[in-house]
């Protein structure tokens, strides 16, 4: 896999993309949010310092899902009235990307789905059921959240958001789905809950005293 390199238009630091399809990244040094254009990198914003958080995962954390290895290349941090959670952008060794969500140490992996005719946010209520890929999902919680910050590489431009509504769905078999209403057009992610130990994570953060 190629690792296209460029320089930060703001501070000149070297910017390396670990995932060739990344659209956006954040300069590690000056925290500029950089978006890839056809010719170069454009600074579109600046990341405020992320609040201290409790996730054991960080950029460069490596893990396994089944027989695939992955590495964490980016993240989006959200907040809602009961706390915050991370959506870690992970790159699989088969070139695909996925999301590892970490909500107070409850881990789930999900993939962007191409399903059509997704419901509008106003039409969704808790307990409602949807069927995607022959699997019946039940709406468990609707979370009005807001975007708190980004880090690393992302597969799309994501830096000027404010309020975002998420609809979480569960199944009786440990599958998991999220309807993401950050854009006018809903996006669907399908995946499953995973056990921390099964991910065999390496290069985790360390915590004082643990």
């Amino acid at each position: 896999m190629t690792q296209p390199a460029a320089n930060c238009p703001n501070c000149g630091a070297k910017i390396v993309f670990r995932w060739s399809s990344s659209v956006q990244t954040v300069c590690e040094f000056c925290k500029s949010i950089l978006v890839r254009t056809d010719v170069d990198l454009k600074k579109v914003g600046q990341v405020a310092d992320l609040p201290p958080d409790s996730s054991p995962i960080q950029i460069n954390t490596e893990g396994k899902y089944g027989n695939k290895a992955f590495v964490v290349v980016g993240r989006i941090l959200y907040e809602y009235d009961q706390g915050g959670w991370n959506e870690w952008h992970v790159m699989m060794n088969d070139g695909t990307s996925a999301w590892l969500s970490d909500a107070q140490s409850e881990y789930a992996l999900s993939w962007s789905s191409k399903a059509q005719n997704l419901p509008a946010v106003a039409q969704v209520h808790v307990g409602q059921q949807f069927t995607w890929s022959d699997q019946r999902y039940t709406v468990s919680v609707i979370t009005p959240a807001h975007y708190r910050g980004v880090e690393g590489e992302l597969p799309f431009q994501y830096w000027d958001k404010t309020d975002v509504t998420f609809v979480d769905l569960r199944t009786e078999t440990g599958k998991f789905a999220t309807l993401d209403y950050s854009d006018p057009e809903a996006a669907l992610y399908l995946g499953e809950f995973v056990e921390f130990d099964d991910l065999k994570l390496k290069n985790l953060r360390s915590f004082e005293g643990w």
Binding site: Q104, R170, F207
Partner: protein, 444 residues
């Protein structure tokens, strides 16, 4: 837990944060590295916003009793199912059922990698609780979780009375949630409904001793009282299975009995009638029978005595003697029969027949020596002696049957009484109990 290589860059290691209560100034430690939503001051009981660097006061509550203290102090670490956890929060909750308040305690456990887990304690009964990842399927009477059926136990409103330490959610004293428990001992499946959000959790029963060992607590855990909803029955065996096994053994015993009965020769070797004359019994009354032969293998010998006595007794001192070796088996048998009338009507006592089995008699030539004694009022009587070789013995089967039956009955009874105590605390008490309470209700 190993945390891999240190980060190349980025913020320093998260540390437990030391702050001060904005209300009373007491020291407050945030142990969960930012996972806490609220933290409660241990000295003035202000509920503070853990996300706010200034710890804004969210609520203050009066403690009605000063005696509420966590059995596991906040900050204690222990190993639970192989993972280290630190106690970061504690709350007391209560529910009212039929006018009686029941209180229990919940402990919030934290591990920076594995997240949050809970321990609950009620009257010395503990549960290790985690949030369900899979969605249970529930109707009013049961719930299916991961293919197992949980029976509805109770639905009640749970109040939060007292809080201490850190909570990963917005905790408030006075908040009420609708809690429904479904049980499949040793597990309990609970749904907690607050506003519109339903949270499912799965708990597994723990003995106080296990908790004490896990957190290396001094002393002894409080003695549990009563039977808890998901407490595993001390009858660990499957009662139905025990009965199936018992039936199989009983059938086997019957088959064995039938087999030995068929194989037994039941060969008559002596049949004689003797006269007893009182007049002659002054001196030596003993005599010997004809010699009879026991053939085949070592087996039983049955000696039957029949005497047509009526309100008399006769006592026979027997000796079975091997003519070849001189080996003797001595035994005495009494035949007596009494009858009469009294205020209760007619009565009888004793029998005119007697039988005794001598086990393990080797083959050979034998005779009986008989020495009769009798009731002094009995002048003379004819009595019959029958000797049969190789008779089946059934008494041993009866003993075996009882030996099997007794534990089966005890196991069943214990299982029954335990389940009865369990369900008597539920929304579905056993039949007799619900009848009792409804009949007492009718009288009022």
């Amino acid at each position: 837990m190993g945390a891999g290589a240190p980060p190349l860059s980025g913020p320093p290691k998260p540390q437990a944060k030391a702050l001060n209560c904005p209300k009373c100034g007491a020291a407050i430690t945030l142990r969960s590295f930012g996972q806490a939503e609220t933290v409660v001051c241990g000295s003035c009981h202000s509920i503070l916003d853990a996300k706010d660097p200034n710890l804004a006061i969210l609520q203050q509550f009066e403690i009605k009793t000063s005696a509420i203290r966590p059995l596991i102090p906040l900050g204690t670490r222990g190993k639970l199912r192989g993972t280290d956890y630190e106690v970061i929060g504690f709350e007391r909750r209560s529910t009212k059922v039929d006018g009686i308040t029941y209180c229990w305690h919940e402990y919030v456990l934290f591990n920076p990698y594995k997240g949050i887990r809970y321990l609950s304690e009620y009257n010395g009964h503990w549960n290790d609780i985690s949030i369900c990842k899979q969605l249970p399927m529930a109707d009013g009477s049961s719930a299916n979780y991961l293919g197992e059926i949980y029976k509805h136990f109770q639905t009640s409103d749970a109040d939060t009375d007292f809080v201490l330490g850190e909570f990963p959610w917005q905790v408030r004293v006075g908040e009420q949630a609708a809690v429904t428990d479904y049980v499949h001992p040793p597990r309990v499946l609970s749904s907690e409904k607050l506003d519109k959000e339903v949270t499912w959790s799965i708990g597994e029963y723990m003995y106080g001793r296990e908790v004490w060992d896990a957190f290396r607590l001094p002393g002894a855990p409080p003695q549990p009282t009563g039977v808890y909803e998901n407490q595993p029955s001390p009858v660990t065996t499957n009662v139905t299975g025990v009965w199936v096994t018992f039936t199989a053994f009983a059938v086997f015993l019957l088959a064995l009995m039938a087999g030995f009965d068929m194989r037994a020769k039941k060969e008559p070797v002596l049949h004689e009638t003797y006269q007893y004359h009182r007049a002659e019994s002054k001196g030596e009354t003993s005599f010997v029978t004809d010699v009879f032969e026991l053939t085949g293998h070592t087996s039983t010998v049955e000696v039957k005595t029949f005497a047509p006595v009526s309100n008399h007794w006769i006592y026979l001192n027997y000796a079975l003697i091997n003519q070849d070796t001189g080996q003797a088996w001595d035994f005495g048998r009494e035949v007596s029969y009494y009858s009469g009338y009294d205020s209760d009507g007619s009565w009888t006592e004793g029998k005119r027949n007697d039988a005794v089995v001598i086990p393990s008699v080797p083959p050979g030539h034998y005779y009986l020596r008989i020495e009769p004694e009798a009731d002094p009022s009995l002048p003379n009587i004819a009595y019959t002696v029958d000797v049969t070789h190789d008779v089946p013995v059934f008494g041993i089967y009866g003993i075996a049957f009882l030996a099997l039956l007794v534990p089966v009955v005890i196991i069943s009874f214990r299982a029954y009484t335990f389940e009865r105590s369990r369900w008597s605390e539920s929304d579905h008490p056993p039949m007799e109990l619900s009848n009792m309470s409804s009949s007492s209700g009718d009288e009022e």
